[in-house]
C-alpha cells in the first residue's frame, strides 16, 4: 500500500504542475486549453537541454521557458489581439504536439543522461521520512516532488495572502472593476499566463526526464486535458488541486497494480480508467453551486477597455 501511494505521488506530479499552472492562468481570467501543448513543448525542451548539457537545472529552466513561450503566443493572440481563447488554446495544443515530434525527432529512443537521472533519484528527507506511513509515501521522493509540495503552499499563499494575488483574482472576477481601480490588467494577465505556461512546461519535463526517461513524442497522452479537468474538480483551489492530482496519479497506475496482483484485465481497458474518471469528474463538477466552488466570474470573457 505504501509503495502504491508513493508511486501515485510520482504519477501525480506532472498533473499537479500542469493543474497549478492552469489554475493560475484561469484565476487571472484566461482559459488556456493549450496545456497539453505547453506540456509537450516543456517535455521536449527539457529533454533536449538535459541531453545536451547534462544539467538538470538547465533542463528544468529550459522546460519552464518553453512552456512560457507557448503561453506567450496564447497571451499575444488573446490578450493583445483579443482572439478567441478556446480556438487559440486548441491550436496551441496542436502546435505543441507538432513542435514536440518535429524537434524531438532525432532523439526518439535516446535516454536521459545518467547525471540527470541520478539527480532525480529519491532523496529521503531526514527526519520526515521516518514518520510511519507518511514518511515512505510522501518524504522518500525526488527533488521535483518536494518542489511540487512547496509550490502548492506558495501558490496558496500567493493567491490568498498577497497583493499581486489579490489583484489577479480581482481581474479574474471582474476585469472592468479591477481596471477602474488602477490594476494593470494586461500586465497581470500576461504575467500569469506566462507563469502558468511555465509550470505546464515543468510538468511535461517531469514526464520526459523522470517518468519515462526515454524520449517518445507522445509522452503526455492527455494529461494536459486531465489537468484542465482537475482545475474544475479542485474548484480553483491549490490544495484541492494537489488532492485531485494525487487521486488521478493513483488511478493512472491502478491498472498496472491490479494486473501485477493477478487480475486479468486488458491493458487497453485499464488505460481507459483515468479518461473515464475525468469524464465522471467533469459531470460531477457541473453541479457545484456553492459560491467558492464557482469559476472566476470573468473567466474567458474578453476585455477591451474602450468597450466598457
Amino acid at each position: 500500500m505504501e509503495a502504491f501511494l508513493a508511486a501515485a505521488i510520482v504519477a501525480a506530479m506532472p498533473l499537479l504542475f500542469a493543474t497549478l499552472g492552469e489554475l493560475i492562468t484561469e484565476k487571472s481570467g484566461s482559459l488556456n486549453l493549450g496545456v497539453e501543448g505547453m506540456m509537450l513543448m516543456g517535455a521536449v525542451t527539457g529533454f533536449i537541454v538535459a541531453f545536451g548539457t547534462g544539467s538538470p537545472g538547465a533542463a528544468l529552466l529550459g522546460a519552464f521557458g518553453a512552456g512560457a513561450g507557448g503561453a506567450l503566443i496564447f497571451a499575444i493572440i488573446t490578450v493583445t489581439l483579443r482572439g478567441n481563447q478556446v480556438v487559440t488554446g486548441l491550436t496551441l495544443t496542436i502546435f505543441g504536439s507538432g513542435f514536440a515530434s518535429f524537434v524531438g525527432d532525432p532523439l526518439i529512443g535516446k535516454s536521459v543522461p545518467k547525471v540527470v537521472q541520478a539527480f532525480f533519484k529519491g532523496a529521503p528527507l531526514p527526519g520526515l521520512s521516518d514518520i510511519p506511513f507518511f514518511g515512505p509515501v510522501f518524504f522518500r521522493q525526488d527533488v521535483f516532488v518536494y518542489l511540487g509540495y512547496i509550490l502548492v503552499i506558495l501558490v496558496s499563499i500567493y493567491l490568498y495572502k498577497t497583493r499581486p494575488g489579490l489583484h489577479m483574482r480581482a481581474i479574474g472576477e471582474n476585469t472592468a472593476a479591477a481596471d477602474a481601480s488602477g490594476v494593470a490588467v494586461d500586465f497581470h494577465k500576461y504575467a500569469h499566463i506566462l507563469f502558468g505556461g511555465g509550470l505546464c512546461g515543468l510538468g511535461g519535463a517531469y514526464l520526459a526526464l523522470v517518468y519515462v526517461p526515454m524520449w517518445q513524442a507522445d509522452v503526455v497522452t492527455g494529461r494536459g486535458w486531465i489537468a484542465v479537468a482537475l482545475v474544475i474538480f479542485a474548484s480553483w483551489n491549490p490544495t484541492k488541486a494537489f488532492l485531485g492530482s494525487f487521486l488521478f496519479g493513483a488511478l493512472s497506475i491502478l491498472g498496472f497494480r491490479l494486473q501485477s496482483m493477478g487480475f486479468h484485465i486488458s491493458q487497453y481497458l485499464v488505460d481507459m480508467f483515468p479518461y473515464a474518471a475525468t469524464i465522471a469528474i467533469v459531470i460531477v463538477s457541473t453541479h457545484k453551486n456553492r459560491k467558492e466552488d464557482l469559476p472566476p466570474a470573468d473567466l474567458s470573457v474578453p476585455y477591451f477597455r474602450e468597450e466598457r
Binding site: 515530434s101 513524442a217 481497458l269 479518461y275 459531470i283 457541473t286
Partner: protein
C-alpha cells in the same frame, strides 16, 4: 503602457479587405514558418518546393493528396456544424474511430452481401455510431451544461483504447503473423474507384453541398447558428435548445463517423486504431480558417491536404519529419487568429505625443 495608435471598434469590413487580411496573414505565417525552418537548419524554399512536388508531382501523388482531402473535408464539415453552435467538439478522432468500428463490424460479419447493400449498411452504421458517440457529451451539455471540450476530448482516448483492445484482443486475426491486426474486409466492403480514385470524393462533394444548404437554407441550420450566436436570443425565440444541441451534435458526430467508414473501407481495408491519423484535430484548424462556411471548407481542406501529403513526401525526400506540417498548420492558424483583430478593430497611427495627450 501607451502605444502610438488609436484602436476603435469597427462593425463591418468589406469582403475584399477581409480576404486581403486573410491572405496576408497566411503569407506572413508561411514566411514565419520559413524562418523557423532556417533556425533548424532547413532551407525553407527547398521544403516548400518539395511539399508542392510531393503533392502534385505525379498522378499517384495527386491521388494521395486527394485521399487526404476527402477525410479532412468530411470531418471538417462535421466540426463546422458543432462549432457554428459554439459547441467545441474536439472529439472528432473518437467519433471517426467509432464510425470505423461500426462499419467494420458490419463488414466483418456480413462479408457475402451484395456490394451496394453492404456499403450502404456500413455507411449508415458509421453515421449512427459516430453520432451516438457525440450524443453522449451533447446530452450532458444540453441537460446539465457539462463542459464539452474536456468531455469530447476524453471520449477520443476511450474510443481509441477500445479499438486497440479489439485489435490486440478479441478481434485479432488468428492467422496474422507478427503485428496483430484485424482480418481484411471482403471485396464487397471496399469502396469502388470512380474516376481514378476511391468514391469518397463524390461523397465529399455531395456532403459539402448538403451541409452548405442545411446550414444556410433550412430552419434547423438557422437555429443552430442562433444558439451559437446567443443563447438568450434562442430562448427568447422559443427554440428548444437541448434538442437543437443534440441534433447538431448527432450530425457532427455522424459526419465524423462516416470518415471512419471511408478510411476503413477504402484505405485500410480493415479496422486499425491508427486509421484516423489526426484528421479530427486538423479539422478544427481547417474549419476555423474557413470561417465556418462549408464551401470555403472544401478549399481550405484541399490546401491542407497538399500540406499533409507534401509533408509525408518530404519525410522520404529530405528526411525532414512530417510533423513539420503540424507546426506550419499551427503557425498559420495563430496568424489568422491574430489577424481577426484587424477585422474587428481599426488601428490608426496617431504618434506617441498625441496618444499620451489623449490618455490624460
Amino acid at each position: 503602457m501607451i502605444l502610438p495608435v488609436r484602436i476603435t471598434k469597427r462593425d463591418d469590413v468589406p469582403r475584399r479587405q477581409a480576404a486581403v487580411i486573410l491572405v496576408v496573414s497566411i503569407v506572413l505565417a508561411l514566411v514565419f514558418s520559413g524562418v523557423v525552418m532556417l533556425l533548424f537548419g532547413l532551407n525553407p524554399i527547398e521544403v516548400y518546393g518539395t511539399i508542392v512536388q510531393g503533392a502534385f508531382g505525379s498522378a499517384m501523388r495527386l491521388e494521395q493528396t486527394m485521399i487526404k482531402a476527402v477525410p479532412l473535408t468530411i470531418a471538417s464539415l462535421g466540426i463546422l456544424v458543432a462549432f457554428k453552435m459554439k459547441f467545441w467538439n474536439i472529439g472528432g478522432e473518437g467519433q471517426i474511430m467509432m464510425g470505423a468500428l461500426a462499419a467494420s463490424w458490419v463488414a466483418l460479419n456480413h462479408p457475402g452481401l451484395p456490394q451496394p447493400l453492404l456499403l450502404l449498411w456500413m455507411g449508415a452504421a458509421s453515421v449512427v455510431a459516430g453520432g451516438v458517440w457525440a450524443l453522449i457529451p451533447a446530452a450532458f451539455k444540453a441537460k446539465m451544461g457539462t463542459n464539452e471540450t474536456i468531455f469530447t476530448l476524453m471520449m477520443n482516448y476511450i474510443a481509441i483504447k477500445f479499438v486497440m483492445y479489439l485489435q490486440y484482443g478479441p478481434w485479432k486475426d488468428p492467422e496474422s503473423k507478427g503485428f496483430p491486426r484485424i482480418p481484411k474486409f471482403s471485396d464487397a466492403a471496399i469502396l469502388p474507384d470512380v474516376g481514378g480514385m476511391h468514391a469518397g470524393w463524390v461523397l465529399m462533394l455531395i456532403l459539402v453541398a448538403a451541409v452548405f444548404l442545411f446550414m444556410n437554407y433550412t430552419k434547423k441550420g438557422y437555429e443552430i447558428a442562433v444558439v451559437g450566436e446567443s443563447l438568450e436570443t434562442a430562448r427568447y425565440a422559443g427554440m428548444n435548445i437541448p434538442v437543437i444541441i443534440m441534433i447538431a451534435m448527432f450530425i457532427s458526430g455522424g459526419l465524423c463517423g462516416l470518415v471512419g467508414m471511408v478510411q476503413a473501407s477504402a484505405i485500410e481495408k480493415t479496422l486499425t486504431w491508427g486509421l484516423s491519423s489526426g484528421y479530427g484535430f486538423t479539422a478544427i484548424i481547417t474549419t476555423w480558417l474557413a470561417r465556418l462556411n462549408a464551401v470555403t471548407t472544401l478549399f481550405v481542406c484541399l490546401a491542407f491536404a497538399v500540406l499533409l501529403q507534401g509533408a509525408d513526401y518530404i519525410q522520404l525526400a529530405l528526411h525532414v519529419p512530417s510533423s513539420v506540417a503540424q507546426v506550419v498548420q499551427g503557425i498559420i492558424l495563430f496568424f489568422v487568429l491574430g489577424s481577426d483583430f484587424f477585422l474587428r478593430y481599426r488601428v490608426k497611427w496617431i504618434g506617441l505625443a498625441r496618444a499620451r495627450a489623449e490618455a490624460e
